[in-house]
Each structure stands twice: as C-alpha cells, then as structure tokens.
C-alpha cells in the first residue's frame, strides 16, 4: 500500500487530518468574528471591510480561499464520518450500567454539535453569501435583494473615474437578517454549539498531532475554554444587539453625515 494511502486509512492519520483541518477552521472563525465585530464601529467601516475582502485579492484568489475552506470542512467531515463508523463497528455493544468518569460533556457530543453546525453552515452560506434561501420570505427586503452603497474611507466617498465606488451594504444585510427572530435564535444556538465544539476541539487538535502532555493539557484545556467563549460571545452579541435595537439599518445609506448632500448627487449619477 502506498504510504499516503496507509496514512489516510489509519485511525491516527485521519485524526491528524481532522486536527489540521480543524486548525484552519478554528483560525477562520476567529478572523470571521473579528471581521463581524466591526459592525459596532459603524456601517461604513464594515461595508469598507466587505469591499476590502472582495477586492484586496483577485477573484481567483478569493475563490481559492473559499474552496480551501470548503475543502477543509469536507475533509473534517469525511474524517469524522468514517472514524465514527469505524468506532461504532468496534463497539457494537455497550454496558448495561454505563458510567462516565472524566470525559467532558462537549467531548462526548462532538458529533451532535458538529452535525448541527454543518446544518447551520449550509444555511448561513445560503443566507449571507449566496443570499438565496428557497421559500424564505422576508418582511423587509435587504438580504435577498442586495443593496449597494458608496464606499466610504476616512469619511470621504471613494471616487474612481469620476464615479463613486459602490460596495455591498453588509450592515443592512446583517441587520435585516437578524431582525428575523428565528434567524437570530438559530444563530445564537449554533454559535453556542460552536463554543462547545471548540472547547474540546481546540485542545484536542494538539493531542491528535502529538503536541500535548499532562502539563500542556491543563493549559490548552483552559485556552480552549476561553477561545470557545470568546468566539461565542463575539458572534452572539451581534444578533442580540440587533434584536435589542442597538444595531440599526444605516439611514444615510452608508454615507457620513457630512457627505449626505453629495449622496443625492451620486444617486443621481447612478440612476442615469
């Protein structure tokens, strides 16, 4: 058997793949969370951030990153599913009086939290990236019908060839999305499960690649707990703030107050 095949076929090899893809996703959620939190800095900041994400790199590179992330999820799930099936086969019969001695709740429910997270990720991408959720009706347009606003940097509308550079109105999309109570509820539950998943996973991935001992296990378990909670609070605060009415749709259409007069001009140019 080729060495790579035997690595992938082995239980340890698949766990290492799960740890490495897990690391990619762990770092991604932190970056995603920090990006999202910019909504609290104002509509023009998060809209400018969205513009940067889409235009900093050429479209091919953006798709490269997207495919890399999706592939990481795919490998992570593939390893989880095949290992779970092998594990079930190895233990067809349980104990009549089964007792857990020290395993944490989150470590024993990784599969459940993972499955619900997958459902969430599918919905989340359909909702905010593809912006096409079949049969989903909104009271307010703004999510499925994207609105564009001029890009604002340092309080000035960015102009290019005499035209204002337009960007996607992420602020209004998020606010409109989270105004739907069940979207917010699902989001908070999913990020709560993500917190649980990370509480075990962030420490466990070091074990799987062999970079952990008794001393570092205690430290990494604490790091994982803090990481999980930071990610949960960082994500969940946005739907909570939206439902509480702290985050609103941008009335200026993304323009700084000083440039409101210029807005009419720009809108006029656009309509021509």
């Amino acid at each position: 058997m080729c060495s790579l095949c035997s690595f992938i076929k082995s239980t340890i090899g698949r766990k290492i793949l799960m740890a490495l893809t897990g690391l990619v996703l762990v770092l991604f959620v932190m970056g995603h969370m920090l990006g999202n939190l910019q909504i609290f800095l104002g509509a023009e900041v998060i809209n400018a951030y969205a513009y940067k994400l889409h235009h900093l790199l050429p479209a091919a590179a953006l798709w490269g990153i997207r495919i890399f992330l999706l592939a990481s999820i795919a490998v992570h799930i593939w390893a989880a599913v095949t290992l779970t099936l092998d594990n079930r086969k190895a233990r067809p019969e349980g104990y009549d009086s089964d007792k857990v001695v020290q395993a944490s709740y989150s470590s024993r429910t990784m599969r459940m939290s993972g499955i619900i997270l997958l459902a969430f990720i599918v919905f989340h991408i359909a909702h905010f990236t593809v912006r096409n959720v079949p049969s989903m009706q909104y009271n307010e347009p703004g999510v499925i019908e994207p609105s564009e606003v001029p890009l604002v940097k340092h309080g000035e509308v960015v102009m290019k060839n005499g035209h204002a550079v337009m960007t996607f109105n992420v602020n209004d999309m998020m606010v409109a999305g989270f105004k739907v109570w069940w979207v917010s509820a699902f989001y908070i539950i999913a990020t709560g499960l993500l917190c649980m998943h990370l509480t075990h996973g962030v420490s466990s991935m070091f074990q799987s690649v062999g970079l952990r001992n008794s001393l570092w296990r205690k430290r990494l378990d604490r790091v994982a707990l803090v990481y999980g909670w930071v990610v949960f609070l960082g994500f969940a605060i946005i739907p909570i703030a939206t439902m509480a009415g702290l985050l609103k749709k941008d009335p200026t259409g993304g323009l700084p107050v000083a440039s409101v007069s210029a807005a009419a001009e720009i809108t006029e140019t656009l309509h021509k």
Partner: protein, 257 residues
Amino acid sequence: MEKTMNLTIRVWRQKNRLDVGKFAEYKLADISEDSSFLEMLDILSEQLVADGHEPVAFDHDCREGICGMCSMTINGIPHGPESGTTACQLHMRHFHDGQTITIEPWRAKPFPVIKDLVVDRTPLDKIIQSGGFITARAGSAVDANAMPIAKGIADYAMDAAACIGCGACVAACPNASAMLFTSAKVAHMNSLPQGKAEKDRRTLAMVTTMDGEGFGGCTNIGECEAACPKSIPLDMIAHLNRDYATAQFKNFFKPVA
C-alpha cells in the same frame, strides 16, 4: 469488629462465544468489607456450586494487581470505582450494605466473550507481536550501567512500561480504541536507546495491527486514562500520534524498513 454487608450481584452469564448471554441476579449475605472483589466472587461461586449451579467464570491470576488478567466492568467502570486499582485489588469496603453491583465483561468487538466475564484478548498480543520487541541478540542481561540512560527518560519509560495489558482502556473507550495500550508500549520502547533504532518501523507496524484488529479510533475524551489501573496518562497517546506522524512523514519519502 469486622463489618459485613448483604449484596445483590447482577452478573453477566454467557455459556460460550455463540450464546446470547443475559444477566443473572444473586443474593450474597455476610460479605466482609475486608474481602477483595474477587474473593467476593469466589464466595458467590462457592454458593452457586453448593446450590448445584455453574460458578461464574472470570479471569484472574496474581491477585496483586500486576498480571493484568482480571477484567470486569463493575457498575459501568472497568475495574470498578477506585482509580488506579485493578479489580483484584478493589476491596468490598468501597461498597455498602444492600447495594446492587452490576458486573459485565469487557465490551469490544475485538474482545469476544468466551464465557461469562472471560473475554478473548488475543488482539492485544497481536499488537505486541507486530512491534513490541527489539530485534537484537538477547544473550544474557548486560550490566545495568552499561548503557547510560538519563533519569527522566528511564522514569518515563518505566511509567509507560507499567501497562499490564489488561484491556481496561479498550473496555472504557466508547470507541473500543486500543490507543492507550498501544501508545504505552510504543512510548516505552521508542523512548529507550535499545528501542530507538526500530522506532519508525515499530510505530507503523503496531498501529497497522491495532487498526487491523478492529479497534476504534481515539476521540481524546480520556475515559481510558481514568479507567487504567496503572494510571497510564493520555501523554502516551500524544507520544504515539507524534511518532506515527514522524514515521509516516519519513515513510512518504523513503519506505521505512
């Protein structure tokens, strides 16, 4: 004065490999709190024989916690509720009067039940056969100081070598994974100079055998460590993962001989 207790014993009875098996309940009176768990089972067996029934079959040998023969899940925990203790070293003082004690065999696909509480643990032997040795001319034992080994390494190898191969880790694992057993053996041999020469070959061979025997994978939850009567830590599994990754990395460029 010696305290005694009355107990209800719920024990797994299975005639042979093919039998379906079921629980049987027995009443035991006046069990001394100073008797060991296996002595309690001996008393039960005597009572069964006196009543014309077949005694409960269970594995046991040294009865001093070093051979690794005794193997039973007591109230859902392999080797019972005391940490770092084999079933033979467990005493009845850890139970109370009127208690119902459920005793089951190790549950794992690679460990088929032979009779009652006795399971076939040959797969662990096969893992040892595939790499738990050094390919050197054994001869007579050399002087202990002939090969200098740092104290820390010797201690670490000794901690790993404390594994008695009872299979409690497999029994405790919801995936019936033999990672703690295999890792203890690998860590023991790979960390000493005598075993280092064949480190990569050994690691690959033992993991391949472990997977091939039908044991599950590790989910890093740590139930094995809690059940291990020799308190082998999860560190050993991390060590195995590390050595396996290294061995596969080398193997990718040049097959490990």
